[in-house]
Amino acid sequence: MDSSQLNADWEEEILGFKDVALLRTCIQCGTCSGSCSVAPIADYTPRMIVNLVARGDIKPALSSSMIFLCTNCLACSTRCPRGIPVADLMVKLRNMSIAADLADVEDRAAAEEFVRNLLKRGRLYEPEFMIRYAMRTSPLSLLSMRDAALSLFKHGKLGLPVKSNADLRDLKKKFKEGG
């Protein structure tokens, strides 16, 4: 998706996300922001993100730190007095951000390499995934993972990759086409 077209195409894209009219019923009460587990360190709070999207100003939302800090803990969606699925909106915005190449490399690589790895065998093989992630973001960070890796090994939690026989061809094709 061409990021310059974002504001023009947003309604069509977001309409794929449930109900835009529902987003526009947001009363900006801030319950979502108050409940959010990461809002204190985000550039835009969940309330602000909903506001941006509701009035069609998508680009700042797609470049925000909020959408990738979101842990999908569902506190916002659970408590929204309008029933707006705020957490689902964050996921949708992440999809759009990655597709428009607006996401930071850490956020994009974390998602992309995870999916690439799990599609190989149907199961995630963490050592392989972590190495690929580190190579894309910061190879030296592998050193800081040393302690965790040793702990896992010491407690019998590191093994060899295991494969599932499930047919994942359709999902692999989707991944190749960019999700």
Binding site: T71, C73, S77, V91, F114, D147, L171
Partner: protein, 257 residues
């Protein structure tokens, strides 16, 4: 893994046989949905398509969320998906605490437990327990003979989904929960999600770095059930937890004096 091994042992003791689906695939956790919601949903649909016997149970809250999403999607399309349950729901609803109490041979007397529900279980399924102030894990603690401490941080998110790309923040979130647990005087934190377990256990040293106070053992709920059933420390897989679980055994020894 401590959660899988103890869960299998405990369910067996309760007369329930857990059969691992041979070709299950990763539910995609949070990253798959972040990359592509379609792929995430596709993984869930694939998993549900492989379920035999009409129902599937998962020990993990993130898997539960993803499978529940696929279940809802298929139900909307009138495709009659299998029933998706969290392992704790199976224990509480299907097996029942009365049956659990009957199997308790070594009550957890003297053990103070902070029940940590995590953010997802009761928000994904608020019909099971309150999405604001859940109580059922505490009921399990008492059924096992332990003392359930009041724990305000019991639903705070552990930060699992952002532990890779936003590690510092994730570890900080785990630290908040652990410090709160320590303040209650609990001997252990009991979890119902392995990802939460990882954040509070594997990364505990990092989360509590530079602070005062003792480490807090973090155990999956079936580990405490295995202990209370008298199945032994090996069935409870207590060696697999990263933070030493010896304080739990010490508290129990003290409680039984």
């Amino acid at each position: 893994m401590e959660y899988g091994d103890s869960a299998t042992a405990v369910c067996k003791a309760l007369g329930v046989s857990l059969e691992e689906m041979p070709d299950w695939v990763c539910c995609g956790a949070t990253p798959a949905a972040s990359y592509s919601y379609d792929i995430s949903l596709g993984l869930g649909i694939k998993n549900l398509g492989m379920v035999k016997g009409g129902s599937v149970v998962t020990p993990c809250s993130a898997c539960f969320k993803n499978l529940k999403g696929a279940e809802a999607h298929l139900a909307k399309q009138k495709a009659r998906p299998p029933r998706v349950q969290h392992l704790f729901q199976l224990v509480y609803d299907d097996i029942g605490l009365a049956a659990v109490r009957e199997k308790v041979k070594a009550p957890l007397k003297g053990l103070k437990v902070a029940s940590y529900y995590g953010c997802l279980l009761t928000r994904v399924d608020p019909t099971f327990d309150s999405a604001e102030d859940p109580k059922k894990l505490d009921e399990l603690t008492r059924a096992l003979g332990g003392e359930a401490v009041k724990f305000a941080a019991k639903m705070k998110c552990c930060g699992g989904p952002i532990t890779l790309a936003k590690h510092a923040r994730a570890v900080e979130m785990g630290g908040t929960i652990l410090k709160a647990a320590r303040a209650t005087g609990a001997h252990a934190v009991m979890t119902l999600c392995p990802m939460c377990g990882t954040m509070l256990d594997l990364y505990q040293k990092e989360a509590l770095a530079g602070g005062n106070g003792d480490p807090v053992p973090v155990v999956y709920f079936t580990q405490l059930m295995a202990l209370a059933f008298g199945l032994g420390a090996e069935a409870a897989a207590l060696d697999m937890n990263v933070v030493s679980t010896r304080p739990i055994l010490a508290a129990l020894a003290g409680g039984r004096k």
